[in-house]
């Protein structure tokens, strides 16, 4: 935190419309995007990947959660431009060859979706949690899910599905 010297703005990189190159669900993707566009808008409106949901739009509800380089990110408050060179995973990229992943399979088995609008966000949050910490404790599980809100209040079944998904992932190790 030394005192900086002022440098002319001319040296600053400026992006009004920029060519964005990134991996989306493993696919190399190249699009011209406005600098202000959020990652959520980019995914839904440009790529038509509408599985990622537009909820509160301010980062509170977690419905728009995607993974950016493996980390959960609220795509509504993330600039698409900031994702240049990253690998983004959305709910569309979770099932491989039509086979549900353990988190999706557990949600299906326990009917852990009511209206379903929050479900993609919950699935992405849990995918990250179990990839990062497959032996997560109940406390760690509940803390991680603190980023996602279900307005149907279906938390009991969501937690049941999450615990079952964890068992499935542990059994497959």
């Amino acid at each position: 935190m030394t005192t900086p010297t002022t440098t002319p703005m001319a040296t600053t990189r400026v992006a009004q419309d920029l060519v964005l190159e990134l991996l989306v669900n493993g696919e190399p993707t190249r699009r011209l995007v406005p600098g202000h566009r959020s990652l959520l808008e980019f995914l839904r409106d440009e790529l038509r990947l509408t599985g990622t949901k537009h909820g509160c739009d301010v980062g509170d509800c977690g419905a728009c959660t995607v993974l950016v380089d493996g980390e959960p990110r609220l795509s509504c408050i993330t600039l698409a431009a900031d994702c240049a060179g990253t690998a983004v995973e959305t709910i569309e990229g979770v099932a491989v060859g039509g086979v549900l992943d353990p988190v999706q399979a557990a949600f299906d088995a326990h009917v852990a979706a009511q209206c379903g609008y929050c479900t993609p966000g919950f699935v992405m949050t849990l995918r990250h949690l179990f990839a990062d910490n497959p032996d997560a404790t109940e406390s760690e599980l509940r803390t991680a899910l603190g980023s996602n809100i279900c307005r149907c209040t279906g938390y009991v079944k969501i937690l049941t599905a999450a615990r079952d998904a964890q068992r499935r992932i542990q059994a497959a190790r």
């Binding site: 002022t6 600053t12 009004q16 202000h36 301010v58 980062g59 993330t78 600039l79 603190g146």
Partner: protein, 307 residues
């Protein structure tokens, strides 16, 4: 205009709406409250340090995330009330991206300010729809033209530890110097557009101090506090800082004095001196006293005894 600038040096990070974690700016952008260039601080060097200084202070750069601040071993050991606040606000995902600088300089969370359908003192107009509506979030101390309480939980914690704010172009500021008296109709802090908040400094912990954070809110996570407090208990250095009740984070000197006098939990009764409210926010007067009492009960409970 949809321009984003990516400066690499602190001196370039001016002339635009600064953005780091995006938890404030993206909302205002979407609602048309921001037009013009964004200045994305992603590539600006020198704002990510979290370092111990000789003598026991710690400095955290403006881009240090709240999650990092909350889990840093130095911060947890020396300033637990601040670590608890940084690690308990909003949601885990927001704390992963929200930064020290953004938390301190975010704009008011008043719904009328953020709505594209209203104007107010802070959005280029005049008047205060929140005052007219007698809203339940309104301040009960020192309300100026704008009655919205200050939104920064980190600022409350910083105030409780006599923390300092480091600003390029301005120098070292106390929390009251950063925010002023809260009476400015159009802004929440005293930095100019040319001045860049580069970090915070936590003074050395006082020997024997205990501290904590407690908030009352309508939802455990992803919600703004109705009332919150960060308290440091140590003889000769009692601090009671509160948020959700005034246009700036504020200390309660009468409660601090009562704690110095050994009044314990009963000191909370001094919290409400000078409070004024309209009917809509009158509940906050009682809530403030109970919030402080609850935190004091927790901090003063003998070890191993649940309050």
């Amino acid at each position: 205009m949809s321009e984003v600038r990516y400066p690499t040096a602190q001196g370039q990070a001016v002339w635009g709406h600064r953005r780091a974690g995006g938890t404030d700016v993206m909302d205002r952008l979407r609602h048309g409250r921001i037009t013009g260039a964004l200045v994305d601080l992603r590539d600006v060097a020198g704002l990510e340090g979290l370092v111990a200084l000789p003598g026991g202070s710690v400095e955290a750069g403006a881009k240090v995330t709240l999650a990092r601040l909350a889990t840093d071993a130095k911060v947890r050991a020396g300033w637990p009330g601040l670590a608890d606040a940084a690690g308990g606000l909003a949601t885990p995902q927001i704390r992963q991206v929200a930064t020290v600088g953004g938390s301190l300089l975010q704009r008011t969370r008043c719904a009328w300010f953020r709505s594209p359908d209203f104007t107010c003192h802070k959005s280029g107009g005049s008047g205060c729809p929140a005052l007219a509506a007698d809203h339940h979030w309104n301040s009960i101390f020192g309300a100026g033209p704008c009655v919205a309480p200050h939104p920064s939980t980190l600022a409350v914690a910083l105030l409780a530890f006599d923390g300092l704010v480091l600003a390029d172009g301005r120098g070292t500021l106390t929390v009251p110097e950063l925010y002023g008296d809260g009476q400015a109709a159009d802004r929440e802090h005293t930095l100019t557009d040319e001045q860049l908040l580069v970090g915070i400094r936590l003074p050395p912990p006082l020997p024997g101090a205990t501290s904590g954070w407690f908030r009352t809110a309508s939802r455990a996570r992803a919600e703004w506090p109705l009332v919150e407090a960060v308290i440091r208990l140590v003889p000769g250095g009692m601090r009671v800082a509160v948020g959700g009740v005034a246009p700036v984070p504020m200390r309660l000197p009468a409660v601090e004095a009562a704690l110095e006098a050994g009044e314990g939990v009963a000191a909370a009764a001094k919290a409400i001196a000078g409070a004024t409210s309209n009917p809509g926010s009158a509940y906050k007067v009682t809530l403030l006293e109970r919030t402080i009492a609850t935190l004091l009960e927790r901090l003063l409970a003998p070890p191993g005894v649940a309050p």
